[in-house]
Amino acid sequence: MNRAAASHEVDGGPLIRATSDRDVLAEAAGLTVGYGGVAAIENVSFRVRRGERIALLGPNGGGKTTLLRSITGEADRISGSLRVSASWATVPQTERSRLDYPVSALDVAVMGSLASLPWWRQPGRRERAAALQALERVGMVKLAGATFGELSAGQRQRVLIARGLVQDAGLLLLDEPFTGLDASSSDRLETLIGALATEERGILIATHDLEQARRWDLVVCLNRRQIAFGPPGEVLNLAVLEATYGGAIVAIPDSGGLGILPPHHHHQS
């Protein structure tokens, strides 16, 4: 084995994975899910293994959130199969969480510890220490005492990620976690997601950032059905992106990359 390949393994995680059942955290085959019997996404087949970062790409309304909700049981399975064999933690879009609720950032992070406590036990010193450590990791320890609803959108997102870390879930479900984060917070979060993946977690991340998705292990392209699933290098070609985003794809000159145009509007002038 040459040096370059070895260093690649360290940076990007092991290239060769054991395919034992133990490594599969969630697996869907021909899955159709929706709400109240009406399908929102059809025929989805994917597999999440330990240590994988999987991007969910697609337009708004394309089914990214619904796919995450199928794992949490909030969306109904209409047909096909879905097996989830790990504990999961959600980092919802922040507007879903209540902003007038009387809790601090630390209180929110501490909530993640309830999963490991019997129902009669209150979170104590050890749980608070774990929560502070998680807040430290997401760069929020200085604001641990701040009221959750008074934090910025990006700060709230990091606190919710800390809550998932305290919960120590095998499968992290992040719904557009980069929305509302500035560049440095975004970089820090992406580094963190990489670190979490090397800790043998599986991470599903709904995102709009194509270049970000290219750096991760696998992508699922969704537009009310599954367009493609696989490594970004194989999957993210023009045909797939056009099917995913409905033709609003342009080649970026001199970069070799592809860009997504915002939804097309017809103007009468």
Binding site: T72, Y101, P102, D107, M111, A115, Q122
Partner: protein, 274 residues
């Protein structure tokens, strides 16, 4: 004891009002953040015929309230299944019917004296057995809130996430509603079926103006409820007003003072001009 509270009747009334305040004040914070204000009013009124029936039959009020509660819950469940009838409408119809039935029983000429106290409360009539029952219920409610605090907080914050923790939102709702029934039972002796909601909502709404953390809010709410109880009893003693109504008036005054105080403290926000 000084002033009005040198009288044993007033002393017992103060203990009763304080116990009601502890239950209502602490639980009220959860009632507000679980969006159960309407449910607490409905519950209080819906179990009324059970209370009256128990009083008429000479059975313990706890039993009557329990049966009344289950009957009301079942009636609401059945009524909300009628096509075209929304849940709120079902609750309103069922609760009004049950409350009317209870009032009919309570105010009929044949019913023994004292039944009316269930409607308007008789905090001055509390005997030692009433105090013991209220004390036991208050202890149970405070103990349960202590045990369940973390879980109730997590469910109230984010119900979907709570599910990933293995915390059932339905179980948390059921726990709050059960404790609510217990608190109504404590409150109904002192405040009566009509005014018990004031002790459940008033102190919590007041404390919410002044605190942004759950535990301090609950302590503040209990303090507000207890002080309003004492103030209401004093008012009743000197002005000759009905005790339960005086306590409710003190609670409203506390809320208005807190809301007004908070508004005058708020910084003037400057709108960003684009």
């Amino acid at each position: 004891m000084i002033g009005p509270f040198s009288d044993p009747v007033m002393q017992r009334a103060l203990v009763e009002a304080t116990l009601v305040g502890v239950c209502g004040g602490a639980l009220g914070c959860w009632v507000i953040f679980y969006g159960l204000s309407y449910a607490s009013e409905s519950l209080a009124h819906g179990l009324f015929p059970g209370l009256v029936a128990a009083a008429l039959l000479g059975l313990p009020l706890v039993l009557g309230a329990g049966v009344g509660l289950v009957a009301a819950a079942l009636a609401v469940a059945v009524a909300s299944r009628v096509p075209g009838v929304g849940r709120n409408v079902a609750v309103a119809v069922v609760v009004t019917s049950l409350f009317g039935l209870g009032v009919l029983l309570a105010l009929s000429p044949a019913s023994p004296p004292g039944i009316q106290a269930l409607l308007f409360g008789d905090v001055l009539g509390a005997n030692d057995a009433d105090l013991a029952l209220s004390g036991a219920l208050a202890l149970g409610i405070v103990g349960a809130l202590w045990l369940l605090h973390g879980r109730l907080l997590a469910v109230g914050f984010d119900r979907d996430f709570a599910r990933s923790l293995g915390v059932s939102a339905a179980a948390a709702d059921a726990a709050v509603l059960t404790l609510l029934a217990g608190a109504i039972l404590v409150g109904v002796q002192g405040m009566g079926n009509l005014l018990v909601v004031a002790v459940l909502i008033g102190p919590a709404a007041t404390a919410r103006q002044l605190s942004s953390r759950m535990a301090p809010m609950m302590l503040l709410s209990v303090a507000v409820a207890a002080l309003a109880g004492a103030a209401g009893l004093c008012l009743s003693y000197y002005a000759g007003t009905a005790a339960g109504a005086s306590i409710a008036a003190a609670l409203v005054a506390a809320y208005l003072a807190a809301a007004f105080g908070r508004r005058s403290r708020l910084p003037i926000t400057v709108e960003e001009v684009p």
